[in-house]
Point group: C2
Chain length 468, copies 2
């Protein structure tokens, strides 16, 4: 595929030129330079600016045409009127790719914006040069320490396997910051902007082959040709989860979206069925989007809808059971063997059934382990929710849990709500997630919903494929 | 009301005795003592323990009967079998109130638990001694620095006006920790447990008169007599919002709930209509529960359903507009005057309408202020959403926003999603919330849902009251 080849060079360049690099913090060209330099990029950085001589320790080139280098990536932050000249030079030099941050194209009211868009396309026609943007913050390849965006803060995000691709810069940033807070690891963050010639289908094809990315998150507002995305989805159906948030469903949102991206957004219903056909997993809440992505990245696939709810405090189990039932999971009936094992480990005050109110048993790691193992081995159980809220008298439980879960791998999805004040358990939880032992959520409801999403995704893939 | 008087002394005691106080961190009596001592309680603390002489710097009394003090509050953490003796002594001494942390009563399988429950009732019959519990963590009066619970960490929570009352200790802790993370201020945290003789209706009556509490959050699983709560709600309808989360709606959750609290939980539908009649605002998601409580505590009442969406990045506005429409708000049509003012402040690239995509105008505080003021003064606008995601080139916007909002009070609800990485804006947001200028949420969806809840609560109160 052309997509695989040309995006590979764009996302993993050996050299990056910044047209419009600046030493002035009031300019985006300053922030792009800072992102590259402070982000730890190990390739060659070439700031381009007709006036400066050195920016952040890097010698400046007066113009792109004066650069001797074979340029893999050119980041462009000069005003729109100067962009055609830059593109012509990129075309002449057979640049590997362009990240066009500049705005003022198809998204503006002035028809000159649309004309400029077409002109850029003409200039690079037939050259095979991929362009991220215009009207974007750029992109980040976290796993390569390449931050080609105007947001240096992206470099501090945790590396992982979630690939975030969005039409909106604001949503990219929001999801990136939310991922940072949830300690969710990202592989790439890509702002497609006005999608001059790189659109979701090509990125989907590329990310399917990208060894760094295991779950794809697409935020889109409107597409010129949704069919292409659906077809790309169908070609790779079941290989990696593709989560899609389609904004602009309501009347007003849709109107705003149309204007924002210069495309017809279309009503939500038109997209919904198509996504399903393409094996794309539609999610319409940003929190759930990230919660689902984390579950898919960190958990094995559930073989069924049976859930065991193991809870240290009864209330959490009741809340989780409500959600599980409402969201299509089955609160599993344990086998006789499981019930016997669990009852043997529980004190008389505990509830005998599922949810399992572990009562004081959660203070005792061997008993906790026995209960968890029994649930994990029960043939009627396909997912497990483990819910524990901090108690001062048992603050050490996480250390025990860590030792225990370190000894055996997650055979079935183990979704947790381990909640403590003042980040007291953060380190242990982080290590457990990094070891692939659990995935943690701030409320039992979010853990239960994420569990339901795992099963829903599996069910989506199980559907027969009809005509697009 | 008896409730007002007797709970006042319980929640604001001049002295607290801890029956079962301990210097051993493996005992709950240790954690209760730590809560009182480290929590900064200014009254007299009397640990009671037949063996120790001093605990955490406080001289120990060998037994309750040996205490010379007039005791306002007795916290009990001795085993269930010893509790009747303690209660008899409390009755003899006309103690102000009891927090009975001990478990092993009506919630256990053994019928002896239920019998013990009845026996306790008999012992204090006619004495008017209020009992929080049994089977609880206790309670916290944050505003009085009184932490009468086994969770010292509660003392670190922010003081504010949300009163949290729950039947479940786990949910109390979870909501407390979530409030801590959201920097939501709490007045009281009360764990009603098995509700020996203090139940939701009496606490509702008390909190209505409590100057420290402005919004009441009730988490309940099942009630013996829901009608009493509904009647109490009706008596105080509209005075302070009472948010109710009723768990145990699903089949399994309901079953677990019945066992947990030893009461019939009843199907959700039975409760739903009754809550509405009582002016109690039912919410069935823990995240939304806290989000709504914060909005009600920090925002004025909206006069209508018209919302203005002001956004720094178009994507956020589109997402918010989708939610507003779905949740019953109206994305307001601005008056001609507002449109003219806003268009005068916006660059040509921005979308002309509502949502207002402020584009680069949000980099300029006077223009941002002009837009916000125009929306605030528009007669069609009753609530405002302000959505801004951090940009490195405009990291200082919050300082400007703070100065601006400090100059004029919130006349209409101003709900924000101000999102930045690595807690960069936390301090400014916190100060703005404390000044009552805004309420902030982590996603535009949560801000929009909270806005819709403000209007929904107002609409709930507007309904005519029918028969219970």
């Amino acid at each position: 595929m052309i997509g695989k080849t040309r995006l590979e060079r764009l996302f993993n360049p050996r050299s990056v030129a910044v047209v419009g690099a600046s030493a002035n913090p009031g300019k985006l060209g300053f922030h792009v330079m800072k992102s590259l330099v402070k982000g730890g990029y190990r390739g060659k950085i070439i700031p381009i600016n007709p006036e400066a001589r050195e920016i952040m320790g890097h010698p400046v080139c007066g113009s792109l045409s004066q650069c001797g280098e074979d340029l893999d990536l050119v980041v462009v932050v000069v005003p729109a009127a100067q962009v055609p000249g830059v593109f012509a030079e990129c075309a002449r030099r057979k640049t590997g790719g362009i990240a066009l941050i500049t705005a003022g194209f198809r998204e503006i009211e002035d028809p000159a914006g649309g004309e400029l868009h077409e002109r850029l396309l003409d200039i690079i026609e037939g050259q095979g040069i991929p362009v991220i943007g215009p009207n974007t913050y750029g992109f980040v390849n976290l796993r390569a320490d390449l931050n080609a965006s105007f947001t240096p803060e992206f470099s501090a995000l945790k590396k992982g396997s979630l690939a975030l691709v969005a039409q909106s810069g604001g949503i990219s940033h929001l999801l990136g910051f939310l991922a940072g807070e949830a300690k969710a690891g990202l592989s790439k963050i890509i702002g497609l902007g006005n999608r001059l010639n790189v659109d979701f289908p090509e990125v989907l094809e590329y990310l399917m082959e990208d060894g760094d990315s295991s779950v794809l998150i697409f935020y889109l507002e409107g597409l010129e040709d949704p069919r292409r995305l659906i077809e790309a989805g169908r070609r790779h159906r079941g290989r990696k989860p593709v989560l899609v948030y389609k904004a602009g469903k309501a009347r007003v949102g849709n109107e705003a979206s149309r204007s924002h991206t210069g495309t017809l957004a279309g009503r939500g219903e038109i997209y919904r069925g198509a996504f399903r056909q393409g094996g794309l997993f539609e999610i319409d809440d940003l929190t759930l989007l990230l919660d689902t992505a984390r579950a898919l990245a960190l958990c094995p696939e559930p073989a069924g809808a049976g859930v065991a709810i193991l809870t240290a405090q009864a209330g959490l189990g009741i809340v989780a059971a409500d959600i599980c039932e409402a969201e299509g999971l089955e609160v599993a009936a344990f086998t006789a063997a499981t019930s016997e094992t669990i009852n043997g480990l529980l004190p008389p005050v505990a509830f005998r059934g599922n949810p399992v109110d572990m009562g004081p048993a959660w203070y005792d790691v061997p008993r906790l382990e026995g209960i968890l193992k029994a649930a994990m081995e029960d043939e009627n159980v396909h997912l497990i929710l483990l819910l524990i809220v901090f108690a001062s008298a048992n603050a050490e439980v996480l250390a025990g849990l860590e030792g225990m879960l370190g000894r055996w791998r997650q055979k079935k999805p183990l979704l947790c709500c381990l909640s403590a004040p003042q980040d007291l358990w953060d380190e242990e939880i982080n290590r457990l997630e990094e070891a692939g032992a659990i995935v943690n959520y701030p409320t039992p409801e979010r853990a239960a919903r994420a569990a339901a999403q795992l099963w829903r995704y599996k069910s989506l893939l199980g559907r027969p494929i009809g005509p697009v």
